[in-house]
């Protein structure tokens, strides 16, 4: 098992969670989401984002509206739907549980 592969699997699992979290604060268009994710080193290439956004949208967790841009093509501004918000809340709980559990295990192993 390659290290890169494992890293990618881990990132991939939390990517949807992170996207929903970013959009929870405020609506955003893909470039902004990308910037945020890149900052957290969660994505290597931008391409990964687009299928995820479409999937989330098709599951009706996200919705979008068009907005004209002064400096380029029109932008798709994504925001959470009500379902999305509920979904995110559940994910948040799960994440915290997981976080605690993982921290506990890894710290126990190190000790």
């Amino acid at each position: 098992m390659k290290l890169e592969n494992t890293k990618a699997q881990m990132r991939k699992g939390i990517l949807e969670f992170c996207i929903l979290s970013i959009l929870n604060k405020q609506e955003a268009y893909p470039s902004e989401i990308i910037d945020a994710l890149k900052e957290g080193k969660l994505i290597v290439v931008e391409g990964t984002l687009y299928p995820l956004l479409t999937r989330l949208k098709n599951e009706e967790l996200l919705t979008y509206r068009w907005e004209e841009s002064t400096s380029g093509p029109p932008r798709k501004y994504y925001s959470l739907t009500e379902t999305g918000k509920t979904f995110l809340a559940e994910l948040m709980t799960t994440w915290e549980e997981l976080n605690t559990a993982v921290n506990k295990i890894t710290q126990n192993q190190q000790a």
Binding site: N5, K12, V44, G47, T48, Y50, T54, G72, P73, K76
Partner: protein, 523 residues
């Protein structure tokens, strides 16, 4: 200097360098393929295009107005390889690995089919089609064809057969099948756009084809180019040699043929009249020869120039096809005329034969002419001064008759004069044979033989032939030119054995014996 294309992405217009555009096009195509099982793939691609447009407009923030190849490479690196979109094996391909995967590849996921590629054709697209099928450079296929053509005369028929048998691409879908690419909307679009580009390029085909090929084929192509140039030069030289030979033949060809009439030389047209079935055929043969000759020679010269200079346009192609057709038509005309004349040569018959009988120990044969040993016996050698034929207003005179010696079954000399000719029926052949005039005269025991014979010009040259069979009785001999010829005396020294067994004739009783020629010391 680079060509740009104008692209419209989601409400924005961009000027993009052509190679950058191709790269982009390829990327979208591969992305479409990578996402084909993904729900909402159309929308994903739209989003990606939107992002590309956005990144392009970022690149153009400064004073630049054209999106360059480097920009697109950068953008595509940012977006990531299509295989990474769904993230399944994103770790397999690192960012470093992407450069290679951007190279234009024709991913062969569909079974290839053999088509003639008429859009990239020199003549009918056979070579280009084969090159597509095997995914090799067309120049190599053409080179192989030309080599086969030059050295085995095998390429022309093969090319024509493939031309007929292999279908040409009729639709864009065929074009994709030809290249073994999957039939997807993106690939289709690409082909259509390629076709549009090709049309645009026709005018400036020289420059653009060079660039296009440099772009895709690089080093491999240059080797092909060199081969192509060498073969081109070869074909041109070959064509020139034929041209010179052909011109010599047309202008002064008759000088090589030893025919004399009372005025001196005979023209090929006159000779044609004597050989071909009708005067009309002579004109036809001339037309055919000139058409065929010039057609093939000019075809070779143009083909050579085409390969040498890599000319690719419609007129060149039309000219090549035209000249080749001219050559073929010329050849067919000659074939037709030849077959027609050949029909008149199909049957050989003998005319009325003459027999002389001599009772003597020695038969003297005059004239004293040098004899030429032939498979059939001894042929009277034609007189070099006279050529082998002389044509007058009414007659054709031919030099040289065959003399065959046989052993006699009785004690007498038998001399048979056999005249024969050819025709399309028994009667025409016999009539022509009977028209042959050949004189033999017997004075006492001396036989005077004409070494020539003649027949009416109207009979044409139809294999007219005179043979003299001289049967020599045992213990008798023929004396001619200081030599003696006799049979049945094996004790003679220095005998030279002429084998007459090889000739099967209807004079069965004479068959099977050799004859002996005894030489004198001074001969």
């Amino acid at each position: 200097m680079k060509k740009t294309v104008s692209v419209h992405i989601k409400g924005s217009n961009f000027l993009i360098e052509e190679d950058a555009y191709e790269l982009l096009q390829d990327y979208i195509a591969r992305l479409t393929k990578a996402l084909k099982n993904e729900k909402g793939s159309k929308e994903i691609i739209e989003d990606v295009e939107l992002r590309i447009a956005e990144l392009c407009s970022e690149k153009l923030r400064d004073v630049r107005t054209v999106v360059e190849l480097a920009d697109i490479e950068d953008i595509l690196n940012t977006l990531g390889d299509p295989s990474m979109y769904l993230g399944e094996d994103e770790a397999e391909e690192t960012v470093d690995g992407q450069e290679q995967s951007y190279e234009k590849t024709s991913s062969g996921s569909t079974e290839r089919r053999l088509f003639r590629d008429t859009e990239n054709a020199v003549i009918a697209g056979v070579c280009q089609g084969i090159a597509n099928f095997f995914n090799i450079d067309v120049v190599i296929v053409r080179a192989i064809f030309v080599v086969v053509l030059l050295f085995a005369g095998f390429g022309f028929p093969l090319y024509v057969i493939l031309w007929i048998v292999v279908p040409k691409t009729k639709s864009t879908i065929d074009r994709l099948r030809m290249k073994g690419r999957p039939i997807t909307v993106e690939n289709l679009r690409e082909e259509v756009e390629n076709a549009a580009d090709r049309l645009k390029d026709k005018g400036t085909s020289f420059a653009s084809s060079l660039r296009e090929n440099d772009h895709y084929k690089g080093r491999f192509h240059r080797i092909g180019r060199i081969i192509s140039i060498i073969i081109g030069i070869g074909i041109i030289c070959w064509g020139l040699i034929w041209l010179i030979m052909f011109l010599i033949f047309i202008i002064g060809g008759f000088e090589f043929i030893p025919i004399i009439n009372q005025d001196g030389m005979i023209s090929i047209t006159d000779l044609g009249t004597l050989v071909l079935a009708s005067p009309g055929d002579v004109s036809l043969a001339w037309t055919g020869t000139i058409m065929g000759g010039f057609g093939v020679i000019l075809f070779l010269l143009l083909l050579g120039s085409t390969m040498l200079m890599k000319i690719r346009n419609k007129w060149n192609k039309i000219s090549l096809i035209g000249l080749f057709s001219l050559g073929v038509v010329g050849g067919l005309i000659c074939l037709y005329v030849g077959l027609k004349a050949g029909a008149d040569l199909s049957i050989e018959r003998e005319g009325e034969n003459k027999e002389l009988i001599v009772a003597s120990n020695v038969l003297t044969l005059i004239p004293d002419v040098p004899l030429m040993k032939t498979p059939s016996g001894l042929k009277v050698k034609s007189d070099g001064r006279n050529g082998f034929m002389r044509i007058t207003d009414t007659e054709i005179k031919m030099y040289g008759i065959d003399i065959v010696y046989k052993e006699s079954t009785d004690s007498l000399f038998h001399v048979y004069q056999i005249v024969s000719a050819r025709g399309k029926s028994n009667s025409t052949a016999v009539r022509r044979a009977d028209n042959i005039e050949h004189n033999i005269r017997l004075v006492s025991d001396t036989l005077y033989v004409d070494t020539d014979f003649h027949f009416p010009k109207a009979d044409k040259i139809r294999g007219q032939h005179v043979e003299l069979i001289i049967e020599i009785p045992a213990k008798a001999k023929v004396s001619t030119g200081g030599r003696t010829i006799q049979f049945g005396n094996p004790s003679d020294e220095d005998d030279e054995d002429y084998d007459s067994n090889s000739r099967r004739r209807k004079y069965g009783t004479f068959f099977g014996d050799g004859y002996y020629e005894r030489r004198r010391d001074n001969w």
